[in-house]
């Protein structure tokens, strides 16, 4: 191993990934070469010194500001999610009510009528709510809302559930 090779391998030497036979060769070289000894020592010292520039603790004032900011943003984010979820639940309920009403009065467009009638034939839970000529019930249970709201997904693309 010559000096150039030794310098090239210093990174491996210090991170411990050097192969044993190379480590031995490096040891042999160092014993005989003052220049490389100095190089190795100053390379190592550089590494150690540079760790000392690591920034000190975050100032208390900055930490408190940061903490308050993060807590505030987290609250806003949570509120956003809640608003989004509530809004979707309300929309789904409204959709189900409208579907049940229009199915009963026979005012649904043909595609939606077909999808709803098909579902009513296969789902005992929803069947009581999908009857032509019936009076729309005051409340629809959540499980039924879930089924009915999903029916819109079964329409062909571009088809509007209520024919608006």
């Amino acid at each position: 191993m010559n000096c150039k090779e030794l310098v090239y391998l210093l990174g491996d030497y210090f991170d411990g990934s050097m192969e044993p036979h190379l480590r031995d060769e490096l040891g042999e070289h160092i014993k005989l070469c003052d220049v490389c000894t100095s190089f190795l020592k100053t390379y190592d010292k550089t590494r150690i010194l540079c760790r000392s520039i690591r920034c000190e603790e975050i100032p208390d004032e900055v930490r408190e500001q940061l903490k308050a900011f993060v807590a505030q943003k987290a609250r806003e984010h949570r509120a956003d999610i809640e608003r989004y979820t509530t809004c979707t639940i309300e929309e789904r309920q409204q959709f189900a009510r409208q579907l049940v009403g229009l199915f009963a009065s026979g005012d649904l467009p043909p595609a939606m009528t077909e999808v709803a009638a098909h579902h009513a034939r296969h789902c005992a839970q929803c069947a009581p709510y999908l009857k032509p000529g019936s009076v729309a019930p005051a409340t629809i249970p959540p499980e039924v809302v879930d089924h009915l709201a999903d029916l819109a997904e079964e329409l062909p693309p571009g088809e509007d559930p209520f024919g608006d």
């Binding site: 150039k4 990174g11 991170d15 760790r51």
Partner: protein
């Protein structure tokens, strides 16, 4: 939820996804010091570091739902932090960085050192906490281009392993090692010139 349980990454992630207030606090307590100091090491500016730290926590809270956990939590957070710092640096043109080539060691054709090497390592031992020296190192580190500086900061300043740095930066381990080695060679040479000639270039 005991705060102890929130020390576990998986529990913490689950609670963050569920939107628990305590989990945000636990996240902050565990990572704010590291995030801030990493940002400060890269950006060298208090208010920039603070803004980056804000961005990092907002990003983590918003994206925690899509974090798949294919890397460790801390390395995901470090990656967000490094990316945020780099974006900020791109925004403002930094001071001219030096070419590190002229500070690389020179060898003869036979592969021997072309000049003598002064051993100043003992000298530093005596005044390790020298403030001036700290400022000098800081200045030399600043003069490295981002390519080298970010690797150097993560590995040698923050003390992460080559594997961890490679995961955070999305570089191969050999690329990390090579950049780190060159950064150290550069800093060693600059420190040598400072120690032996006693002047800051």
């Amino acid at each position: 939820m005991s705060t102890e349980r929130l020390q576990d990454d998986n529990v913490l992630l689950e609670e963050l996804r569920a939107g628990s207030e305590e989990s945000v606090e636990a996240l902050f307590d565990r990572f704010h010091g590291k995030v801030y100091s990493l940002a400060l090491s890269i950006l060298k500016n208090d208010s920039d570091a603070q803004e980056v730290a804000q961005d990092v926590f907002i990003t983590v809270i918003r994206k925690v739902g899509t974090f798949k956990g294919d890397s460790a939590l801390y390395s995901w957070i470090y990656r967000i932090c490094v990316n945020s710092c780099l974006m900020r640096l791109r925004g403002k043109r930094r001071n001219e960085t030096v070419s590190i080539e002229e500070f690389m060691p020179v060898f003869t054709e036979e592969g021997m050192h072309a000049s003598l090497v002064d051993d100043w390592s003992k000298e530093v031992e005596r005044n390790l906490l020298n403030k001036e020296l700290g400022e000098i190192i800081q200045r030399y580190t600043d003069s490295l281009s981002e390519k080298y500086r970010v690797v150097f900061v993560l590995s040698d300043v923050e003390g992460l392993s080559n594997e961890e740095t490679s995961e955070i930066l999305g570089l191969s381990v050999p690329a990390v090692k090579s950049r780190l080695h060159r950064a150290r060679l550069y800093l060693r040479e600059r420190l040598t010139r400072y120690m032996t000639q006693g002047k800051v270039e």
